[in-house]
Amino acid sequence: MPNQTTAAGAQPPKVAVTTQSLSSEHLQSVLDSIRDVIYSVTPDGEQILYVSPSAAKVYEMNLDEFTGSPKVWFNRIHEEDRERVRLSLQALFAEGQCESTYRIELPSGGMRWLRDRMQIVRDAQGEPLRIDGIASDITEQVLADMAREMAEGTVRLKDRALESTQNGVVVTDMANPFQPIIYVNPGFERITGWQAADVYGMNCGFLQGDDRDQEAIGQLREAVREGRECQVIVRNYRKDGSMFWNELSISPVRDADGRVTHYVGVQNDITERIRQEEELQDRTERLDAIFSLSPDGFVSFDREGRVAYINPAFTRMTGLTPQAVVGRRERLFDELLRDRCDPKLPYFELGCFETQKDGDANDDDTACNGKTDTLHLLRPERRVLTRSVRRGEGGSKVLYIRDVTRETEVDRMKSEFLSTAAHELRTPMASVFGFSELLLKRDYDEKTRRDLLSTIHRQAGTLIHLLNELLDLARIEARQGKDFKIAVQPLRPVIEGTVAALLVPNDPRKVTLDLPETLPHCAVDAEKLQQALTNLLSNAYKYSPGGGEIRLDTLTSTDGRQFGIRVTDHGIGMTPEQLARCFERFYRADASGNIPGTGLGLVLVKEIVEIFGGRITIASNFGEGSSAVIWLNVAEASAEAA
């Protein structure tokens, strides 16, 4: 320190002073008040010649410690920065001065940023005398810079996000009463087909074209008026005029005073999604219609194995309502169904269908998926159902149920009919075959021979008759009357013709015909009605072997719309049990074979009359006789006097 002669306090300080006039004391005071650390060290750095008091604050240690251990300041430099500091010290000796920024570690655990400027002071010979330096604490500035950089980085990221998002983004200026667009991103350009330059300054409303009458637009306006966020789905139009569904979210941007300065809108083109949804809905509606109209039952299970849907046909068949089963687990569903089935027959749980699938890898998919079993329901009524299970890819399952009650019954009846028909043919055949063999193998007298031959002939006649009636019946059933020549016609000729043509061998009785003056017209096939009446009349003869009147008369129903033709005999009659079964095929009130017949006569009458739209009723008292009535519908305005 050069000149120390001007002591402070010797003279009152002057306004303008020179460095020469600054006292050592004054200088000390200035140095004390500087926050930067001013120091002087020997060129080798081993000895600290001077350090300003601020070092105590900056380094958080006593000044004595600096002088005590000369390298202490270097050791406090952050490890990562030491190499850099070493390099700048080399530069210092080469160039005479240097600047280095580094971090120091604090005993409290914190860190400071220092900017250290040093220079070499040399003597007259140019030899280094000492190193002087100022280290400034720039921590606050560095932190501020870092914060700013981070903030700037975030803005850049946001910009990039805006540029790259698939959504359209649009910003409008709400300070301007026209609310013009001031920004759109590339997503907006892609979705709408408009370029940013085309739309800046325009109001967003142009996207709606002429399609202004949308509920969503009202919602948007209201939200903007109230400065709210809002999400709507609105029909918008591209530059080329094509419509797209815009899922639009808008939210306000406010200034410090809470005033809305901008609105940001985010667009999402959901046209394809809406189309798919509509398609799905159409498909769902179609399937709903199909399922609810289907005569077959459907039950679908979701992936969790709960009943998701049952259709009305399933409810009709089983009495199980959607309320009772939808949402139920498969096991409970099985129980409900099993409860309705005949307990004597096995019930396979739905799970069995899958076990079999898993168990047999060779089984092809259609075989196990399409596996069908049969359920015999007792409740709510007797039904036979077939059941099969289809499994969807996602683990869903559909149960398909068909009501085969009628088919099963028809099958059973067919097979019973065939078996009974065969039996009925075999019985007369047994007589024909057996008696003819006896005649061939043995010698009989003439009387016996004649007797056997007449038995053979009679039984062969029965066979022919049976075959004819079987064929008649088959034809009527197969054609359901399509080959009938039905015409509205007077009944009198049919009835009188039938009675006249009736041939009953070995019976002298005549039919008592009691017809009124006028007979109505009816829609019938004359030949078939004649066949039906013949069957009734021949039954009357056959079942009254002891004689008695055979009478044909007529009846009219009380409302006059039905006309009855009645055949009455006084024969053996039928018991109530026999009466109940007399329309069964092959049923014979006389089973001995003494009264010839096929058991098909009344069946044929019934089939024929029913094709006319009429019906047949029979009343009978055992041992007293029977009375059968064919009821026919009277044709409109058909009073006939013939």
């Binding site: 075999r426 019985t427 055949m429 007589s431 057996g434 008696f435 006896l438 001995s592 074979g593």
Partner: protein
């Protein structure tokens, strides 16, 4: 001693056929028109052989009559031949199940019937 044969058959002509076929030599022939009567006569007469129609009207069909005859210890050794118009496998099996000794399907040959009857009666003698 005369052999006793009982015919149980609802059809008059077929009873006549069986009677005429078998009625020669030392045979006594009895007839019943239905199952109940057949069972009663079987108990009374203790025949050597019963010719039994399967399908008969009334409470008892041929299978049931056969089963009862075979189950009756007093009728031990009585042979039963079923006559039936139903010749399906299940019917034949049913016939075996109720214990019948033979089975003839209608229409049958009278000579075959004779063979069958003689075979069964000889075997039991």
């Amino acid at each position: 001693m005369k052999r006793k044969i009982l015919i149980v058959e609802d059809q008059t002509d077929l009873r006549k056929l069986v009677r005429m076929t078998l009625e020669f030599g030392d045979v006594e022939i009895h007839e019943a028109e239905n199952g109940a009567e057949g069972l009663r006569l079987a108990g009374e007469l203790r025949p050597d052989l019963v010719l039994l129609d399967v399908m008969m009207p009334g409470a008892l069909d041929g299978y049931q009559v056969c089963q009862r005859i075979k189950a009756d210890p007093r009728l031990k050794g009585v042979k039963v031949v079923l006559l039936t118009a139903r010749g399906q496998q299940t019917d034949l099996e049913h016939g075996q199940k109720v214990g019948s000794d033979a089975y003839l399907v209608k229409p049958f040959s009278p000579l075959e019937l004779i063979d069958k009857v003689e075979e069964l009666i000889t075997a039991s003698a």
